[in-house]
């Protein structure tokens, strides 16, 4: 038996048909590639799904069968801005008559750390804008904070976690090709432990087969380990809400790479997605509210030993708000709060600037100005434009501030303001 090649490479899908159980993703991807460059089409896609579900394989298989030359880069190759600029040179070339068309593949973009890889994401967005070739990116977790600015510039194509049956079928094929004796129950056990990650399943299979020349259930049980898996947020939520036992609910919390703030954001968004009964909703929010109090104390007083209580409340506390256990599959979409925040960004920035402007004059904080001063200013600006103009003058408010405060009355306020200036000029002249 030859072990020259890792099986995961040796048995990579060659054709598009070899990529199993991803029909929707395949169609979406092929359709995008065919229409690439047409108006209204996104210039880049983001394939996302759990590890080992075939993201990279799909791209490779498509490139091979459709005759594209593939420029493949891993997260480690494009960490810095300068790396990406080098790629951009290739990407900006159009394919000649004789040369092959190109696909630029940026693998594992969620591995880019926004802070460490200064300017990385911005450089990718720039790359997308200038590229004359299709760009494909892959990620395990598309909801990663770092990818937020990127997501608006790409077509997102989700890929599913493979089912146990599909993993078993793929393993069987390899056993046949390698002429190894593999029991069905052993393959099923490998598949189960892989949790849909075909790559890790094939690695386990190869490790056992090459050492013992056969694959039995006992060998699998003694050798193959459960991996610490990172789940996409929606999967983690699925596991959390549907946990049968306390430990499962706790595990679900730590099985994603969401940070604490994001976990709170997701749970806050989705308690009413999962629960319909008002009593369950109230109980779940009560638990989350308690968790948030622990979290607040942790942050403000640095009492990190409270962390386990926070976990107890946000995991099991939320999961056991149910009256009866019943598995419910729910669509957990990315929380909308971030989106709403970005949509109202400009308006909030104006308010922030205005608050800062007034805070120094009124000897108080921005927060107090926002809560206690601005609401009354708005009343004055909307109901008494002439008087408002005098206040605007008193505080040298900009037109943007006035627009924001006065809304539909802003032209009137500005009108009075200008009239006042003219009158003064006239007074000076005469």
């Amino acid at each position: 038996m030859s072990s020259a090649l890792p099986w995961i490479i040796k048995y990579r899908p060659r054709t598009i048909e070899d990529v199993v159980n991803q029909e929707d993703a395949k169609n979406a991807f092929l359709n995008w590639l065919e229409n690439w460059g047409k108006p209204g089409q996104k210039k880049a896609v983001l394939l996302h799904g759990p590890a080992g579900c075939g993201k990279t394989s799909l791209v490779e298989a498509v490139a091979r069968s459709k005759g594209y030359q593939l420029f493949e880069l891993n997260a480690s190759d494009f960490r810095r801005k300068s790396d990406i600029e080098n790629i951009a040179k290739i990407a900006a070339q159009t394919s000649g008559l004789t040369s092959k068309r190109k696909i630029i593949l940026l693998d594992e973009v969620d591995g880019i750390n926004a802070r460490a890889d200064e300017g990385g994401i911005e450089a990718i967005i720039e790359l997308i804008n200038v590229s004359k070739n299709p760009i494909v990116m892959t990620a395990n977790n598309p909801y990663s904070k770092n990818l937020l600015p990127l997501r608006q510039n790409v077509l997102e194509i989700p890929m599913k976690r493979l089912s146990e049956t599909h993993v078993v079928t793929a393993l069987k094929k390899i056993c046949g090709a390698e002429k190894i004796e593999c029991s069905d129950e052993a393959l099923r056990e490998i598949a189960k432990r892989s949790e849909g990650d075909l790559r890790s399943a094939i690695n386990d299979l190869q490790a056992i087969a090459e050492t013992y020349g056969k694959v039995t259930l006992d060998l699998v049980k003694s050798l193959a380990t459960y991996r610490d898996r990172q789940y996409a947020p929606y999967e983690a939520l699925q596991r959390l809400f549907n946990a049968k036992y306390v430990f499962q609910a706790k595990d679900a919390l730590t099985s994603t790479d969401l940070d604490y703030d994001e976990l709170f954001l997701w749970l806050n968004e989705h308690i009413p997605t999962y629960y319909e009964d008002p009593e369950e909703v109230a109980r779940a929010y009560e638990a989350l509210s308690r968790a948030d109090v622990y979290y607040g104390r942790i942050i403000s007083r640095g009492q990190w030993d409270l962390l386990s209580y926070m976990y107890d409340m946000m995991g099991p506390g939320v999961a056991f708000a149910r009256k009866v256990y019943k598995y419910r599959f729910k669509p957990f979409k990315a929380p909308s709060r971030k989106k709403q925040l970005s949509e109202t960004k400009r308006s909030r920035e104006v308010r922030e600037a205005l608050a800062e402007h007034l805070a120094t004059r009124l000897l108080t904080s921005k927060a107090t100005v926002k809560a206690e001063v601005i609401p009354y200013l708005q009343v004055i600006f909307k109901y008494n434009p002439r008087y408002a103009a005098r206040i605007a003058k008193g505080y040298s408010l900009s037109e943007e501030h006035i627009n924001w405060l006065a809304g539909s009355k802003s032209l009137e306020v500005i009108g009075y303001l200008k009239k006042g200036e003219k009158a003064r000029e006239k007074g000076r002249g005469g």
Binding site: N268, Y295, R337, T364, S365, Y376, V379, Y387, R390
Partner: protein, 325 residues
């Protein structure tokens, strides 16, 4: 008619200790510091709008004269980005000495209770380090959130909510100065709505006057306009069992109107007892207790929306027990 107008809270702010009309005991003690040209570190604690910051400025004015602002460093804990920034500013400020006969400069740290315990520890070090050349005046709404080592190093002054006669007198004074027609009952209404917060009282007065004159009707109109109707609608949605819509309203309040969680909770509390929402009295009390608990958690917790959602979810549950009108 002059063409420039200021907010009356700025226009009618006392500039010297003599102009401060209430808190006579505090004023007396501060005047002693002025005549001694010496003072300890101080902590001014009390609810918003009771004159803490104003008092500190008056004190500084009396110590250093009209150009007092060059001898004080004004910091706001909730606007500064961290203790590192504060340390840098204090160091820079403490380096130069005061010309004149007051041997120290003043560092005014507003909203000190918004600092984390760690930052307060660092602050304590700063206070010790620069004690020869500076005095700190810390200002806080909740003195219990100031760590004990700082409390024990400061003279604590407690500011209580202003009394009705103090507020009404001041409003009357402003009305006559501004030649605005102010009805006595309107001024009383303003006091009720301001809860002893002078800043709010004066803001309501100025906005009411901008509508014409200060009548009870205009006062209510101003307060209604300034405090968006969304709060009431949100409560009604929640009580009718429509949690999802109530939650959307809450987001609007926080994101679009920029209200803080505590603002929202306080308005909910007010709405519950207003006659516009029909809730049986015994349930009002249950809700009030709940609202209070949530306000407590808001101060302790990290995310306002989570706490308020918890409240709305409970309201949705409570609403099932009666038919809200």
């Amino acid at each position: 008619m002059s063409e420039i107008e200021l907010l009356w809270t700025e226009k009618y702010r006392p500039r010297t200790l003599d102009e401060v009309v209430n808190h006579s005991e505090i004023v007396a003690r501060l005047k002693k510091f002025v005549s001694d040209k010496n003072m300890p570190h101080m902590l001014f604690a009390g609810p918003p709008g009771t004159g803490k910051t104003t008092m500190a400025h008056c004190l500084a004015h009396d110590l250093y004269g009209d150009n007092y602002r060059q001898y004080i460093l004004e910091l706001n804990a909730s606007d500064e980005s961290g203790i590192g920034v504060i340390r840098g500013k204090v160091k820079e400020f403490a380096r130069t000495r005061v010309v004149g006969n007051v041997p120290f400069k003043i560092i005014l740290l507003d909203e000190a209770d918004n600092m984390t315990a760690d930052a307060q520890q660092a602050l304590r070090r700063l206070m010790e380090l620069y004690t020869a050349s500076t005095r700190f005046i810390l200002i806080a709404n909740y003195p219990s959130k100031i760590i004990e080592p700082i409390q024990s190093r400061t003279a604590v002054f407690r500011f209580t909510p202003l009394k009705r006669e103090d507020v009404v007198e001041r409003l009357k004074y402003i009305c006559s100065n501004e030649k605005v027609k102010c009805h006595e009952d309107a001024l009383n209404t303003i006091f009720e709505l301001s809860e002893g917060d002078m800043r709010r009282a004066i803001n309501i007065l100025q906005a009411s006057a901008a509508l014409g004159e200060a009548t009870v009707e205009n006062v209510y109109k101003v307060v209604g306009l300034a405090h968006p109707r969304e709060v009431r609608e949100m409560i009604q949605l929640a009580l009718s069992g429509n949690f999802a819509e109530a939650r959307n309203k809450l987001r609007t309040l926080i994101i679009t109107y920029g209200l803080s969680g505590v603002d929202v909770v306080k308005q909910i509390h007010k709405e519950i007892f207003s006659s516009d929402i029909k809730i049986p009295d015994e349930i009002k009390i249950v809700i009030a207790d709940l609202v209070g608990e949530i306000q407590f958690r808001l101060v302790e917790g990290a995310d306002d929306e989570i706490q308020l959602n918890a409240l709305l979810a409970r309201l949705a549950l409570i609403g099932k027990k009666f038919k809200p009108g």
